[in-house]
């Protein structure tokens, strides 16, 4: 039941983040890099939800990301819808490996996973666009736009963790106490 509620909350927050991202302008002094929050949120969900729920989260996240940003010009889809689903399944499977750490109260894996997950997502998009347009070129701006969103996703993932912990303590105080005791004994 708790996992179903967790998954439902994840879907709502995901939708809100997709909306929010449209109103956040690019950061001019960081070469126009953008704040990309969705992969970080997914990483956190993958670390906390059981594997089947993580797969459902990957399906929803990938589909919404693709539909929101798919680029169709001249009757051709630049990057096929569905690739993000596969990407998030792979990222989520890696993240699931760190779930035991998370259940012991060690939340640090969410930071490197969010950083790498966000930057890899953008790098893969760039590579696929370059293949599609038949021309590779790499400029300093490109590197900024791939690396900066990743670095910003790390602190965001931390923020998500603290917000979720706060609400957990508010609504399920006993479960949180048991969790903390387990973490201490470990």
């Amino acid at each position: 039941m708790k996992n179903t509620i967790g998954l439902a909350i994840f879907c709502v927050v995901l939708f809100v983040l997709l909306l929010m991202q449209s109103f956040i302008p690019p950061i001019r002094f960081l070469e126009g890099a953008r704040l990309l929050l969705v992969p970080a949120l997914f990483c956190y969900a993958a670390l906390t939800l059981p594997y089947p729920a993580m797969l459902a989260a990957a399906l929803v996240t990938g589909f919404l990301c693709d539909v929101a940003y798919v680029h169709v010009v001249g009757g051709q889809v630049e990057i096929a819808v569905g690739w993000s689903i596969i990407y998030f399944v792979i990222l989520g499977s890696i993240a699931s490996g760190f779930r035991p750490e998370m259940s012991r109260g060690r939340w640090w894996p969410v930071i490197p996973l969010s950083i790498v997950g966000t930057s890899c997502f953008l790098l893969l998009q760039f590579v696929m666009i370059s293949v599609r347009r038949e021309g590779f070129f790499f400029s300093p701006e490109t590197a900024w736009r791939i690396l900066v969103p990743g670095l910003l996703a790390g602190p965001f993932a931390m923020l998500v963790h603290f917000v979720v912990s706060f609400f957990n303590q508010l609504f399920w105080p006993r479960a949180t106490q048991r969790h903390s005791a387990a973490a201490r004994s470990y």
């Binding site: 449209s22 109103f23 956040i24 169709v72 596969i86 998009q125 070129f137």
Partner: protein, 269 residues
């Protein structure tokens, strides 16, 4: 990993592969549906942003408003008169063109629209406007402002449309340089620098083209193309002769990062 999880992975990957084989039209339908879902939130968000931005800046006294109103009414009368005169001249021009067996110059219907969201993606330059197929918009219709060209429509929803901006690498426009016979294709670049208002490249010019900075570039109006001729695209900043051809670097006429209101050309009246 147990059998259940493997089965679930197979189902999810199967769905992803099924989606990846969908034709472009179906993908656009899915995107249009998603845009429609987001549209009320975009409109509310834009309205809130405007309200927040206009606090203080929009406050005026009644006297100031009255003066502004008088000036605007006067300007409106002048513009209406000029417009009527130009329509007469346009009719006369078309009659003369017909007499000379030239193709009649078509008149376009402009639909005003407002930008309600800017694309949050890193690699594509698009915006969303508050008009859709309910207003007569179709795919591949030119979008402009009173200053110059902005881009073209791509995915069209019921009350919202995605506009591909001129600065995107995939938006290509046939163009000519003012005062020369040089013609080429304008396109944006993959990763725009944030230090300028945007950069466009005019490719396939002759190697020694007589192109000077500050010359204006207009759409050429290719037969069966998307963009009509004579719309200002930008100004030449630099000319680069290359091994086989020449390339001009342009500054867009319209600052695409700041525009809020645009017009969509709906087609011949």
């Amino acid at each position: 990993m147990n059998k259940w999880n493997i089965g679930l992975i197979a189902v999810v990957v199967g769905i992803a592969l099924f989606l990846s084989t969908r034709p472009a039209a179906q993908v656009q339908d899915m995107q249009a549906g998603f845009l429609s879902l987001l549209s009320p939130f975009f409109r509310t968000g834009t309205a809130v942003q405007e309200q927040l931005g206009s606090v203080g800046a929009g406050l005026k006294t009644l006297d100031q408003l009255e003066k502004e109103n008088v000036t605007l009414l006067e300007e409106n009368r002048v513009l209406l008169t000029t417009n009527n005169l130009l329509r007469e001249i346009e009719g006369e021009n078309n009659q003369l063109r017909q007499a000379l067996a030239y193709r009649e110059r078509s008149v376009f219907k402009l639909l005003p629209a407002r930008i309600i969201a800017r694309d949050a993606s890193t690699w594509w330059n698009t915006v969303t406007i508050n008009r859709g197929f309910a207003d007569g918009i179709e795919t591949d219709q030119p979008v402009l402002t009173e200053i110059g060209l902005v881009g073209k429509t791509t995915t069209v929803g019921k009350n919202e449309t995605k506009v591909l901006l001129l600065t995107d690498e995939t938006c290509r426009v046939g163009a000519r340089i003012e005062g020369t016979k040089e013609q080429g294709i304008v396109s944006g670049i993959r990763v725009q620098s944030q230090r300028s208002t945007g950069e466009l490249h005019l490719n396939f010019l002759t190697k020694n083209a007589p192109v000077e900075p500050s010359q204006k570039v207009y759409s050429a109006g290719v037969a069966n193309g998307v963009f009509p001729s004579g719309i200002l695209i930008g100004t030449v900043v630099e000319f680069r002769p290359r091994a086989l051809d020449g390339q001009a670097v342009l500054e867009p006429a319209v600052d695409l990062s700041k525009i809020e209101d645009v017009f969509v050309i709906l087609g011949a009246k």
